[in-house]
Amino acid sequence: MKVVGITTQQEVFVGSKDRNFRINEFLIIEDPYQDDLIGEVVEAQTFNRYIPLNIYGDMVDASVIESLKSLGYNIDEDTIYISKVRLLNEALYPVQTGSDIRLPKFSEVKEIMIQSTREEGLVLGVIRNTDDMALDMDEEFKDILYTFEERGLVPQKEIPYIMDLRSQHHYPHIGVFGGSGSGKSFGLRVILEELMNQNIPTIVLDPHFEMDFSETPDYLKEKKDFNDSFKCLQVGVHIGVKFEDLKSGDLKNLLDASSHLTDSMNNVVDILFKPRDSYISFADRLRMLTEAQEEGNIEKIENRIISSGDAEEKKAWEKRKELFLNYDKTCPYNSVRGILWRLKRLENEGIFSKDIKEIEIGLQDGKLMVLQGNTRILQVFSTYLLNNLYHKRREYKDAIYKKIAAEYFPPFIIVTDEAHNFAPKGYDSPSKSILKEISQEGRKYGVFLILATQRPTLLDETITAQLNTKFIFRTVRASDIKTIQEETDLTVEETRRLPYLRTGDVFISSATLGRTVYGRIRAALTTSPHTLNPFDELKLKTKQKDDGLFNDIKEKLPINEGDLLDTAMELERDTGITYTIQSLEEKLNQMVQKGYIEKEDTIFGYRYKNK
């Protein structure tokens, strides 16, 4: 291998007669006039000067080439390999053409390849095309992971990619970009496994309900148990917002996240929401005010008071009158209705039924807390949650700074998939404000973001710019490639490769390193429990329902036509499900069709019976 052609201080071409170069491998250039230089292959080509480039008559040339082969000459062997090599550091002089090239030893690249120890860093995968250098690698870096490839689980042959978590302090926040199916979620899973290994307090917003770590993938024989390190919590079921703890600002955020608030609605909250309000007290106030406003004027409300049937009703209308007098002028009916509607919607989603205590405790314990719910609910809830936790951490740090005592609150990491939904470009959203604040100031307080999205173009650009490390998986969409080009230091050559990356292969563009690593995410140790095909899932669910119904009616068979009403009532008593005669008949007929039961004609009409 030798340097050929015209060289510069940044780039050289290397030619070889027998070694096919691989992109992103490292080579050492032994320039006689300066210290050894290290470079990375950015383009690799093979070239055969004898095979004409413009072959019209493919066939003819093929026959000539075959003939030459019969004469002992194999044109393929005259192929030469050429690579473009970019120097990691600029050389003092243009590289001497003709300089010898050799493969580096591990010790020569250790510093640029290994960012962290195995214990302190995140072992995320391997650096592709480093197997030659890995041969004499220190033992501590060998056999620490597997990759999962087309042919199955493959032992590690390359240098591991170990991400330096500590460097987040200087170069905070991580972006994970890539098209659908490119390996983002899998990559996130591996990152999260590593965070759990390190006991880093982490919050995961999981709109896909996929970040569960309780199952072991088929390809692994040994189970790695993370059950004590993470917890999945569903918003509205396990966790929620304690209404009594809300401040007016929090409440407005929540309502706004539920559905956009107008200025007038904001105003309504400011006026009507009282400290220590419960959900009920606040909702009642809103409701009574709207009822009063619906009467239209004070005379009509007074009429209501006068014509009230009992004392309670009277009292209630008097209350309405008071609200009307106090607030009708400042709180327009439509705005009050709007607030009430949003409030009820949140309540229906269960947001106010729980609190975030469990999350706080989890973080204090260094656990990974996975918050699940549909995207909208997560938007609403995370707005409240992140504000709350971030400020707790901030208060703690500020208190330390001011040397006043404060309750400890740990630094933590926030992870979300579909980040463009939480911090969209081009319009405001409540969750965006807090994410933006953290992206800009989180570093000071030890709060970091890991944002994954398949649409980097739709992610708020201020936030994107703050992501100091970017994992870029296969990307096909032109607009996203353009965004990536603008937002990372990927070279033209690398950008061109983006659409062709294999699933799980990734460019890691990092400000810490100041260059891009071409890697492959390691095999995850866990798998998402619900990889069920949705159509299989549908079938399963229907079957469960049918089995359920059959169980419920089994004891009551045979059922005569005349018994349908009784049966319906019994079923309602047993199961709490209400049937009409008609709907029960429909169900029974379906059961007949599906072969659970039989229907027969008798002299008293038809009846359903066991098969």
Binding site: V60, S63, I65
Partner: protein
């Protein structure tokens, strides 16, 4: 509209007319008539088959094929301030990693007397031209001789006609010829640009109406089918005197024909060699066997290399003083 090229346009149109007139007879000769004439007066037109795989493999067993070619390049300015470099390459299809290179250089500056005679006389120029040809032919033949020793090939394909070796490298050439004859190595020349006028001369002899001599390349243009060959009768082949047999082959789809020379003593092999050439020539090419094309590419001394070598291996002061022309300095 006034155009600077008007005068040139006129000249070219004029030339076209002149050629049209001069070649009227030739151009109007119909294909069949000419082919009949050739069959009767020049030699048989044969349709060649490509060599079979087994035939080629047999050639390979007997030592494969060696291609020989030379090239030259020049740096510097006008006489005598230039250096010319010559390079010859012999390459065997079997020993592809052992290209056999020979080289030589020439500059009038190193030739003593020319130093003081910057004024070029016609004889001087001819002498220099001869020197070039001698140097180039000599190293080509030397490369071929070494190739015989080293590769023991079945046949040697030289790029170009053989006759020039008689003229410029006689002694060496006789040596090569003798070895080849002794060792049964077939020696052929493959001529891309044929310069003979064998058919034309014969036409002139036969027909009084034709008073000019036409070149074979003009006459044969488009007259042979792909794969056809003319084996020239000894009687009409002027190269016969020097001991060669010759032929023409349409070796590709291009309408031009190429020439082949072979040692007289080996003339029974001319058809086999023609078939070899046909086999090794891409249909869509201009007619030269790929192997010779490859040797040609490899032996070429590019301007950049020439300049690079001069800069690297010649004393900078001498180089500038003698060989950098004003024109070079400008750019």
């Amino acid at each position: 509209m006034y155009s600077v090229h008007d005068k040139l346009k006129e000249k070219i149109s004029g030339l076209s007319l002149t050629l049209q007139e001069k070649y009227e007879v030739v151009l109007s000769l119909d294909k069949e008539t000419l082919r009949e004439f050739i069959e009767e007066e020049i030699g048989k037109i044969k349709t060649l088959e490509k060599l079979s795989k087994s035939h080629l493999e047999a050639c390979q067993k007997k030592g494969g094929i060696v291609g020989v070619d030379g090239s030259n390049n020049r740096v510097g300015g006008a006489h005598p301030h230039f250096v010319e470099a010559y390079q010859a390459l012999a390459k065997s299809t079997i020993y592809k990693d052992e290209p056999l290179f020979l080289a030589d250089i020439y500059t009038p500056l190193a030739e003593g007397e020319s130093l003081n005679s910057p004024i070029e006389k016609k004889e001087d120029l001819e002498e220099i031209e001869d020197k070039k040809n001698i140097k180039l032919s000599t190293i080509e033949v030397e490369a071929a001789i070494e190739a015989v020793e080293r590769f023991k090939p079945y046949a040697i394909l030289m790029d170009g006609g053989l006759i020039r070796y008689n003229i410029y490298a006689k002694a060496k050439w006789e040596e090569l010829r003798t070895i080849c004859e002794e060792k049964d190595i077939i020696l052929v020349g493959v001529i891309k640009d044929i310069k003979t006028s064998i058919i034309g001369d014969r036409l002139r002899e036969k027909y009084e109406a034709i008073d000019a001599s036409f070149y074979d390349r003009e006459l044969l243009f488009g007259k042979l089918q792909y794969g056809e060959m003319i084996i020239i009768n000894e009687m009409v082949n002027k190269k016969g005197i020097e001991g060669y047999s010759s032929g023409f082959i349409r070796s590709s789809l291009a309408p031009t024909v190429i020439g082949i020379d072979i040692l007289d003593s080996q003339k029974t092999s001319i058809e086999e060699m023609a078939r070899l050439i046909l086999t090794l020539t891409p249909q869509t090419s201009r007619g030269i066997p790929l192997w010779l094309d490859m040797v040609d590419k490899e032996v070429k001394i590019s301007d950049a290399i020439m300049k690079g070598l001069m800069e690297r291996y010649m004393d900078r002061g001498l180089y500038e003083r003698f060989f950098i022309s004003e024109r070079d300095k400008r750019d």
